[in-house]
Symmetry: C2
Subunit: 193 residues, 2 copies
DNA sequence: ACATCACTAGATTGATCGCTCTAGCGAGTA
DNA sequence: TACTCGCTAGAGCGATCAATCTAGTGATGT
């Protein structure tokens, strides 16, 4: 069993992801984490806001691991992109449309109300972009072109998550994935020319 | 001054959009709407959940008006797509990165917790797709091709809103917009062939 | 004039919110 | 054996939550 602070942080990250920030109570987190209530303000003197900001970073770092996990075993970049959307769709279905992006909900809730949390969200998105860069430049794209393509990929994925959760159906992930696969192919063709 | 019910609904929609569902209190809504507290349960016997679901539909209907407002005056479809992203970026900047999608936050917060609200969100997204269809089929696309392109457009826009709000910068909207403009051009070229 | 009823008005409910507080436990050092 | 101190433990703070309640108002129909 990990230490109390880690347990609180991981549990908080999971609850924020599934229920949102405002709807998740401190008490609910410590109860779910099997941690004493008093401990939370020892480990997170900044209160819920600090816990939220750190949870965003934890969730972001965890999700970032998916980038090499999906792209490394893929035979080529386009297959990797395809696998990313397919994997996202599968996981969403398997979790009954609960587990989508770990930080999208809390980002939208807090970006305009807490500067530390907005910063954390921004850092996470930026880290995802950076994590993707080597896979796209290795395939022949210039760094600016790779960056733009990855940003578009994340946008498409995030938007598709939103529509898919509302529809309880993976159509949006399928459609947006197909478009991004085509866009990747075209970017590679243009770079190779 | 519109009647009480309308005032409550419009104010609720606006607050849910900016603060999220869970973070917005019933009392705050009636106060901002200058409505008596007791009235809300008369007009919305289903309580906050009913108010939320109706607010989603109201916001969705309002935002849907942007579709013809942007595409009708555009000289061609591609210009319309470009204008849509440019307009979104401008409006986001002008509102200090507060006013993005009117239903994204509340959708993510409630899709897995309230079936009526999830349905409302789904209906709104579907209505946006349908509202876009004539503009894309008129340009020569088949209905399935138009639908897929519009879904991708909405995904790209929603994701770009998310990243832009986190970054307090419109780069994502610019990049995703460019990609969707190119995708639209290619879809038209393929249809016209 | 009178009854009806949609609506206003807000006090009040019990629960829960984030957070602070004091008390005490227990491993490590002297 | 004393003492420190990181951490646990939870009672309790004022505030606020969504929701219910009764009482009253005012326009309408007869």
């Amino acid at each position: 069993m990990p230490d109390t602070r880690t347990r609180i942080l991981d549990t908080g990250a999971e609850l924020f992801r599934r229920q949102g920030y405002a709807a998740t109570g401190i008490k609910q987190i410590v109860t779910a984490a099997q941690a004493p209530f008093g401990s939370i303000y020892h480990h997170f003197p900044g209160g819920k806001e600090q816990l939220g900001a750190e949870a965003i970073r934890v969730s972001g770092a965890l999700y970032e691991l998916l980038v090499p996990a999906v792209f490394d075993p893929a035979p080529d970049l386009v297959s990797g992109v395809r696998a990313f959307f397919a994997g996202a769709a599968l996981h969403l279905e398997e979790t009954d449309y609960e587990d989508a992006c770990p930080i999208a909900t809390i980002t939208l809730e807090t970006a305009s109300r807490s500067e530390p949390m907005r910063e954390a969200s921004h850092d996470v998105f930026e880290s995802w972009i950076v994590a993707g860069l080597p896979h796209f430049t290795a395939a022949g794209l210039s760094e600016p072109a790779a960056r733009e393509l990855i940003i578009s990929l994340i946008c498409a994925l995030e938007g598709a998550f939103l529509l898919a959760r509302a529809a309880r159906c993976t159509e949006a992930l399928q459609v947006a994935g197909d478009l991004m696969v085509a866009a990747t192919e075209r970017a590679l063709a243009q770079a190779g020319r």
